[in-house]
Homo-oligomer: 232 residues x 2
């Protein structure tokens, strides 16, 4: 049965990496000693080694060690033999490019559908959706496809940000961008605010954290969903 | 000789469409009766017809009529027979996708290099750079390539926005995103603030408007450039 935690962000304001969600992670990963970390999204261009160290430091606090997928000779076998996977945030284009180049997209999908635990934050959450077309990231590399894992039946917009009514900036708001997406695509989009995450148990998807999430459907007015089991 | 105006935005806060730059447009397009408008970026999913009407309304104020490229049977011939082109803003992915699908990228490049006047705003400015990898837009469609016109020897980031020191949001700042781009690419990036534009005369490129622009180079600290002829 699919078991996933899909978080808007790894870090909330004024708090350390993964700190706000650490108690939930301890519960979710109960019985797991080692997690396979996918550092491909490389936030700020950080190396795979350095990024893995950051993830490892956080998980050590709950007695779990972290091994980066780049440490394995065969990344496909690394996924297939792991009990738990964590894909960190960073740039979604860089992440999706690396996953396609290493032919990992179907491998991760199959593993998660066959009981491998999955944690994603930010870009690592984006890829659990149908495609990456609602990412906030800059297209700094050209991936062979925008298709992603499709482990949930909608798209995510992590770090969802409400429009600032006082802004004098004329760039598009997040809501405008997502509505633009819906003029060209018919896939629901869930705007997940920082501090919110989804917990997936088989076909049940629950919104966790204290905040509401914003759901966008084609030709409908956006609506706020409260924490609890989602019907999307 | 290349003659281009490349604007960060079509509209600044508290002002009508193109209003802030209209006097300069009248001078730039002196002697031109009709402009070919490329509405492919479709801001907010607007139709080509409606977008062309918006552009036409603005240009009528300076005695110029606007015809949309979609009104022509052959868009390639439409570009080749125009004295002046204006590509409006919207979604850069949608725009670049349409330009590649209609095989217009090399046609526009050649026309502008052969004295066709070019005006771009926002997404229409983005495409004058080497590629579209520094756009702010959401990747709502998958274009066959991120390569663009390469009419200027660097990339642009329109609607450039300085980091908000009071923000509690953990999404990347614009500067962080551009630095990420530079870890994977070695192309200068000019952050062009709203109200700024570039004037290109052959190989001379000048920054116009009252604001400075922010230049990002690989492995260098970003610097502010003042209005006047640029050396990039």
């Amino acid at each position: 049965m699919k078991k996933m935690l899909i978080a808007s962000t790894s870090t909330i304001f004024g708090s350390a990496y993964l700190e706000y969600i650490l108690t939930d992670l301890a519960l979710f990963f109960k019985g797991v000693d080692e997690i396979l970390f996918i550092p491909y999204a490389r936030p700020g261009g950080i190396s795979h080694e350095d990024y893995t160290k950051i993830a490892d430091s956080a998980f050590r606090k709950i007695g779990i060690s972290v091994k980066g997928i780049h440490e394995f000779g065969d990344p496909i076998k690394a996924v297939q033999s792991s009990k738990a996977i964590f894909t960190g945030g960073g740039n979604t284009f860089v992440l999706v490019n690396a996953l396609h180049q290493n032919r990992l997209m179907p491998v991760i999908k199959k593993a998660v559908e066959s009981d491998t635990l999955y944690l994603g934050t930010s870009a690592g959450s984006n890829i659990t959706g149908v495609n990456m077309k609602t990412t906030n990231d800059m297209p700094i590399v050209y991936p062979p496809s925008f298709e992603t894992l499709g482990l949930i039946p909608f798209n995510l917009n992590p770090h969802y940000l409400d429009p600032d009514p006082n802004s004098k900036h004329k760039g598009e708001t997040r809501e405008t961008r997502i509505k633009e997406f819906l003029t060209f695509n018919n896939i629901p989009v869930l705007g997940l605010r920082e501090g919110s995450w989804l917990e997936v148990n088989g076909e049940n998807i629950s919104l966790k954290g204290k905040l509401t999430a914003r759901l966008f459907l084609k030709n409908e007015i956006a609506k706020e969903l409260t924490p609890g089991i989602l019907k999307i």
